[in-house]
Symmetry: C2
Subunit: 461 residues, 2 copies
Amino acid sequence: MPVQRLVVIGGDAAGMSAAAQARRSAPVDDLEVLAFERGPRTSYAACGLPYLVGGEVADADRLVARTPEQFRANGIDVQVRHEVVEVDTAARRVCVRDLDAGTERHEPYDQLLIATGARGVRPPLPGIDAGRVLELRTIDQAAELEQVLTTGARRAVVVGGGYIGIEVAEALVARGLDVAMVEMAEHCMATVLDPSMASLVDDAVRAGGVDLRLGTPVAGFAVKDGRVRGVETGSGGLDADVVVLGLGVRAETGLADAAGVPVGRAGGIVVDNTMHTPVDGVWAAGDCVESHHRVSGRPAVVALGTHANKQGRVAGTNIAAVVRGDAPTARFGGVLGTAVTRFQRTEVGRTGLTAGEATELGHDIVAVTTEAPSRARYYPGGEPMQILVVAERVGGRLLGAQIVGGDASAKRIDVLATALWNDMTVDEIGGMDLSYAPPFSPVWDPVLLAAGKAAAAVARP
Amino acid sequence: MPVQRLVVIGGDAAGMSAAAQARRSAPVDDLEVLAFERGPRTSYAACGLPYLVGGEVADADRLVARTPEQFRANGIDVQVRHEVVEVDTAARRVCVRDLDAGTERHEPYDQLLIATGARGVRPPLPGIDAGRVLELRTIDQAAELEQVLTTGARRAVVVGGGYIGIEVAEALVARGLDVAMVEMAEHCMATVLDPSMASLVDDAVRAGGVDLRLGTPVAGFAVKDGRVRGVETGSGGLDADVVVLGLGVRAETGLADAAGVPVGRAGGIVVDNTMHTPVDGVWAAGDCVESHHRVSGRPAVVALGTHANKQGRVAGTNIAAVVRGDAPTARFGGVLGTAVTRFQRTEVGRTGLTAGEATELGHDIVAVTTEAPSRARYYPGGEPMQILVVAERVGGRLLGAQIVGGDASAKRIDVLATALWNDMTVDEIGGMDLSYAPPFSPVWDPVLLAAGKAAAAVARP
């Protein structure tokens, strides 16, 4: 059997997980692995960037999981500063541009993995391309922000109050800047939390020293000498020495789309649960794909390192199987929309559908909020948390949950995510055997308490 | 319909949960609730006693969830210092002794709940009844220990290295005593952890300043002037100003047994999943009953406040239903053996079967240990944890798990308990959508990592 070749487009979590897994699963005599990355680095932890800015992480090198040299030492040929500019699925080859040399060449493949990731949303607002209107998605962008911070920036405006927005705002407050945050919706994290829970985040952000402007669309940016000087909003202007955009991301699907690889209605590359696209020999993984949402049953684009790593591993396993002549056996189980973050001492966790989403999808729901302490009430150091549980009104199947609270609160969302993964009802969840000791929880763990309270509101079928 | 009467024997977690739930679920015109408690208090948190001794909990009153007066104000007649000495299930009445007055009387019942709890194991060793050989199961016993500590005790010996033993040892070290611990088995927590995990607890206990004597049976106690002066072991004597026994508990079934209410092979009162015993009108709940172990499929006695509360609530709901003439609908779902504790900064969590138990029960297993950090490796403050996963060799169904680690490690056992509750395989668990952000976990949460590593060792069916 002649040696086959896997070409990987994109050298971050999904691409390099797939490359590494394929390498582990197939002998070098059967499979050659070649990866192209247009940036200067492989496999870095973008989710760590706010903490690099904030100072918790001392050094950008710590965010790099593996360097190109390390990959090469493991039998994976990674070429950075190489951008794949075209895919020809009929000829099974890609056209690669060497960004430093300015040259292009064709490289054939037997199996192709598209792992092109996502790009930050940059609405076409006046002034958005001015200097110091930054994103925080790469180490280079973090270095640029660091440069701005160390050369005297005093006032920062963060645009967007989602995960990245609040993490960046925390970092900038920690660095001593005057920070304003502008969010179009009525609350921070409005797309992932219901209003009552989101307003707790608003409170934390305000209490943490951020000038929070909710319900405030950005009209444009004031620019002078090519540099941003302020943010124009529907309700007046805000001075700014630097602006950080946290407006979410979109799947990077241009290359796939141009090659005739289908892009779905949620905006990501279409894959089955083996991570194969509808095009023979073409696989995709990570922020650029649509995943099966286990609760809504619909395709969803969720740009998160956890999924990228898992999907990459599934793709790599299956690519190695196909190279051996076997059927693919690894399956990606889908997403729940589980997430966790923190603003200073306030923790936020969520999974599944919000009450708003569930209602929109036609579910008849109960949505019940419970306050509970993280430890036995008599044990010192406990902190309160609010848990919102969303369930079907008839039968009580769990649809989603949200937690906002103090120390040791948000990670409890994983218990509810596991329950959701298994289609449990709130009644069942309330009866589970979870661990208890006074330093760790009240005798009724907050999760049990919240599920039990929701169960009491559920109609018996 | 004449008013019916529920008599509850035992005024702690199970009994009073049942009483309160029955009271909430049935109108006072239908149901009278009468509870007898032989001790002086109702509903106190015995699991908080080590922290009362250690000083984290300042005041014993904080451990009392509700007083008899509070119950009476809610329509539940609680009589403390009243011991039920006999149950006549044919005549449907109990004989109650007023411990202060020294009188006895009969009280009729329509429904009876037995919630007699557990008693500490006290082997018939020479000297065990001497002064200052204490248990730590009641507030009065804690007060006695406090009295000893404040009158000059310097050397303490803890007998037994289980949950209570290590929690008491921590408390006594915190109070400045020289503490030795004597454990017959080769490790602390030997009945609930496999040796490799238990030895990490041994290390923590030793590092925490306890003179730990493993594999050391107690032969008896040295006594002088009626007070303990030392502990005699197979390998020499240990001086002691005070001894605390932590040798586990046994279900308190004497009353039930004498009344002909069946006691099962695991040593607890036999109940179905509605908490009804095989005797008409007699229910039981809490530390005195056998529960269905969901993994072994066998009856198990697990003395833990969480089960007592849940079982009490189930019993109370069903008793109210029966009083109304309805069928019982609430069900206790069984136990997994989930538990958590801490010795100083070392956390311990466990659920399901140990590798040893699983093998003994005839399972062909894999048992795989994984080390993982609690946070992203580049984020400060993360601490390592070890996770042992036990699964069926063929197919990979999870059977149990154990965690020993630093801050934010042990409560992750709840995710594995939820997976175990749902009969998940380690392969499925490894693919779940758990939450991720650098301050909370690595991109592969330790639970996912541990399950994935176990899955790699599993044989495909």
